[in-house]
């Protein structure tokens, strides 16, 4: 799954920090475009797929 974060709203440094904190739970790839920071999430572990994307986004906002 890919989450596109608006660069004007979400800071790259915080997304990277969130990825670091979640890296045990899935694999992440960041793609930086002009307007968005795309985060590609694969291999989500422990059947956490359902809300993983939303939980991750909430975590980014909480940082």
């Amino acid at each position: 799954m890919v989450i596109k974060y608006n660069k004007n709203i979400y800071k790259l440094s915080l997304i990277k920090r969130a990825i670091k904190d979640f890296d045990q739970l899935a694999e992440f790839k960041i793609k930086n475009t002009s307007e968005y920071i795309s985060v590609d999430i694969t291999n989500i572990k422990n059947n956490l797929d359902d809300n993983f994307r939303d939980e991750f986004s909430n975590y980014v906002l909480s940082l």
């Binding site: 608006n6 004007n8 709203i9 979400y10 809300n51 939980e55 986004s57 909430n58 906002l61 909480s62």
Partner: protein
């Protein structure tokens, strides 16, 4: 208030005008809702911010509308708090400063050597001599 409800996604989308609601206030408000909803932000911070609120529990249309209203209320609350905090900044600093100073003992202001030593007896400027003795 304009909003779009996606009932299948248990989600409500609404727009906030950046002229009235700065991004900082939206971040602060979003944090209040993180335990009840999944929050996602998009849009242009200079014009309009899109706020997606997705219930963590299944919500009816009325509940989604209610959470949207609560978000707006909390946003106003946050803005008011920021405004009051700015207005009272100097008073708060003064109160904290006074509290800190009153909590300090005399020895915090001068070292023990200054009190126990004989420096104060030297009187290099001659101010300890009474006026009558001088004249």
């Amino acid at each position: 208030m304009k909003f779009q409800i996606k009932k299948t996604d248990n989600q409500i989308l609404f727009f906030l005008d950046s002229k009235f609601y700065p991004l900082e206030a939206i971040y602060g408000t979003a944090n209040v809702f993180l335990d009840r909803a999944y929050v996602f932000l998009d849009g242009d911070p200079k014009k309009k911010i899109e706020v997606y609120l997705k219930g963590k529990k299944k919500m009816s249309q009325a509940e989604l509308e209610a959470i949207c209203g609560e978000f707006h209320n909390e946003l106003l609350n946050y803005l008011l708090r920021v405004k009051i905090a700015k207005r009272n900044k100097k008073v708060r600093e003064l109160i904290v400063g006074t509290a800190l100073v009153s909590g300090m003992s005399f020895s915090d202001f001068s070292s023990a050597d200054d009190i126990d030593g004989d420096d104060y007896l030297k009187d290099p400027l001659g101010i300890a001599t009474p006026w009558e003795d001088k004249n």
